[in-house]
Amino acid sequence: MSAFLNLLFRNRLAAMGAVVLAVIVALVLLTPLLPLQDPDITATADRFKRPLTDGHILGTDHLGRDLLSRLLHGTRLSLAVGVAAALIAATIGSAIGIVAGYFGGRIDNVIMRGVDMLMAFPYILLALAIVAALGPGLMNALIAVAAVNVPFFARNIRGVTVGLAGREFIDAARLAGMGHTRILLTELLPNVLPVIIIAMSTTVGWMILETAGLSFLGLGSQPPQADLGSMLGEARSALISHPHTSVVPGIMIFLIVMSINLLGDGVRDALDPRLRSGALSRPRATTLVARKGDIPAPTDDLLAIQDLHTQFHVGERIYRAVGGVSLAVKPGECLGVIGESGSGKSVTALSVMGLVASPPGVITGGAVRFQGEDLIGAPYAALRAKRGDKVAYIFQDPLSTLHPLYRVGHQLAEAIRSHHRVPMAEARARAIQLLHDVRIPNAEARIDDFPHEMSGGMRQRVGIAMALANEPDVIIADEPTTALDVTVQAQILSLLDDLRRARGLAIIFITHDFGVVAQLCDRVAVMYAGRIVENGPTDAVLAAPAHPYTKRLIACVPELGGGRRELAAIPGLPPMVDDLPPGCAFAPRCDKAQEACRTGDIPLSGTPPRAVRCLYPEELV
């Protein structure tokens, strides 16, 4: 609870709302004790006194009544009526909701049908009908506003109750022979109560406004009694000649509603854990760059990742997802990057084109060079021009990476038209050709499918076709076959291999599966905890792994190119990248670990083309 209050008050606006509301409530509670004039005493001689006149701080109204006194009494009445309406609506609505949710079946069905009907009305029609039948008056307005809000509570509380009614403690109570009434009151109600209170706190401002509204229309409080709404309603006829009589109650309603809104927003934010972690931040068009240290010199590789550092800044914490990775590919080459989830391999891949979500991602060092040109920190326009045109991506799980509301043909054509000014018809013809290339049968028809109408394998082919759309020089494939079954996976891999040979594509293939690497890649880099721990030609690494971690990874693949492909067999978990121990990150899971492994940085060493980051490697390289 105190943690909740802390969160709430960290939000300055919510705290402001709370203070304003508290002041108003205190004033209203003290009203009878304050030395105010009688709100209903009329003095026609003193009509329409302006604010700040003697004896009347806020002036007087059309009957010469003191506005300050009327304001405070009116506020008192408005708050009381609004809160009463909220309590009544919450009690009746929650009772209906709990009963419907608990009993379920027919009872639930009938009740919820009724609630749906009530919700089919714009709320004021229902309120007006009730007031029409019962006659104008504050009490009747209160009943109308409460009644209109009953369905809201009934529906919300029913939802919560349905979730609770299936839980064990309710079954246990039933088995223990408790009656329905007792279960409802002693087991369910205490669990639902917090939800009721939150729902009430979010609607009470609304109900105050609604009752004030009915009074404003002349259907609520009747003279001489006045709540804020009827004060405003009465002042309306003098709006043009004496605006202060309207402004005073109007501002009061505004203050009440705004402070309740602010407080309500604060409560909602404090309760929503996603907002707390800042996860609801919008990723920018490119990853933030804040590079420290020297920028490495260009090489003659097609694509070179040089000493790349990428971090996630979440609040005060810094997660070092990529801690100095260097990789490079030449035309027609396929490089495998392998590691467990969390090893930083995907973040490395996404850093290349500035696609790491940011916030929280920040590239803090190194360079990514395409044909020698540094992409890190390149202006957005330069980066965009290369995305998909020179360097294209294939992502895992095409159901979430393809746009669900666009036809696949549209998405393919868009990839082309983002880089080439071609007419739609031409782009479409090219899209069909691409679908043929990735061996989608009946491409002319499938091009008008939505992603959800295709199978997983077909969707992944669309993903590949999209990457090929502009004949890029490099394709970065981030676990493109993980979501697929083995046969489809084999087809996709051989497809990629053919394309590479036919078009001289360079491929960076990210995976956690050595079987896949063996099938496709010329070279392999093994990543662990954000760094490369071993690299070299695939055959050499497979035949004689040097790093203990690589050896284990290979041992985990029962039979290359098929069967079970899990890394679960390695005992222990990869370390959290936010507090890496000094020395070898793999030490806690390594059987060969010595004292020396835990002190000081261990360099990547060996004779090219192989290298390993280990003090006691399995093989000397």
Partner: protein, 315 residues
């Protein structure tokens, strides 16, 4: 698609019946003798008896409901005693004015709200975002009737830009420019709260969508950022914005009652309030049923729009 519309129309039939039942039940809450309540305490016994016969109040409730329903289905909503004309004629005429006002406000709140939400999300934590968030907070906190009154003071009384109230100028008006001049303030005042709600929701829907994998895909293939936001992201966000627009339409329609009073707009809301104060219950009853039925139809249109936007909805 046609099948889906038909299905939704059929599913509306029980709701429409439900509406008439609820209104009928509410009206039977009238304390004491309804005929006296309708005619007022000065009614002569003959008049009371005649009305009782006309309304079938001497018959049992269930029978009375079906008579009422049957009459309504034939377009007979009864006769308003205060206006001495058929209820349906009056309602149709007034509803036309409400439709102009509420329709304009609805379009305004949709367009402005979504626009503000998109800008706010695209510039999250930037100056535009903070400004919009602030204006939205004010917008959703000012009661529409107070906002309307303040607008009259500012733009009609002080600046004299726009007419104080009414739908047309009394002398010489009556054309479209005249209507528009009269429409500006009430439509804006009515749209204010809904615009705020739509803007907030659009902002969070956009933020939610912008984190999705398919947005990263769009960026990865080099789609220009403007298209990513206004195309890919907005289109996906509309899936959660459209239902809220449907709900806001109900609030706009409700708020129209206040705005029609403040600006003396000759709409159905003002008619209802007058009818309540004059205890013209047949007029209230007919007006409520008619507007509620229109709202149900509107919501079907919203569902259809949603199914057009989202191919994943089974039609």
């Amino acid at each position: 698609m046609g099948g889906y519309i038909l299905k939704r129309l059929v599913s509306a039939i029980p709701v429409l019946f439900g509406i008439t039942i609820i209104v009928f039940l509410i009206m039977s809450l009238i304390p004491g003798d309804p005929a006296t309540a309708i005619l007022g305490s000065y009614a002569t016994p003959e008049n009371v008896e005649k009305l009782n016969r006309d309304l079938g109040l001497d018959k049992p409730m269930v029978q009375r409901y079906f008579i009422w329903l049957g009459n309504m289905l034939q377009g007979d909503f009864g006769r308003s005693f205060s206006l001495n004309r058929p209820v349906l004629d009056e309602v149709l005429e007034r509803f036309n004015a409400t439709l102009i006002l509420a329709g304009t406000a609805f379009v305004l709140c949709s367009v402005l709200g979504i626009l503000a939400g998109v800008v706010s999300a695209a510039r999250q934590y930037g100056l535009a975002d903070k400004l919009i968030t602030f204006v939205v907070l004010i917008g959703i906190s000012v009661p529409s009737f107070f906002l309307g009154m303040m607008m009259i003071l500012a733009f009609a009384v002080n600046l004299r830009w726009l007419p104080v109230s009414g739908m047309y100028a009394i002398y010489g008006g009556g054309d479209l420019p005249d209507l528009l001049r009269h429409l500006v303030m009430p439509a804006l005042a009515l749209a204010a709260v809904a615009t705020g709600v739509v803007a907030r929701l659009s902002r969070s829907a956009m933020l939610e969508v912008l984190r999705q994998d398919y947005i990263r895909t769009a960026r990865a293939k080099g789609v220009p950022e403007r298209r990513v936001i206004l195309g890919h992201a907005l289109r996906a966000a509309m899936v959660s914005i459209i239902p809220v627009l449907g709900i806001q339409a109900g609030f706009v329609l409700s708020g129209a009652v206040y705005i029609e009073i403040v600006f003396q707009w000759p709409g159905v809301g003002r008619m209802l309030v007058d009818a309540i104060l004059k205890r013209d219950l047949l007029l209230v009853q007919g007006g409520v049923v008619f507007v509620a039925a229109c709202y149900v139809m509107f919501n079907i249109a919203v569902d259809v729009a949603q199914s057009l936007l989202d191919p994943r909805i089974k039609t």
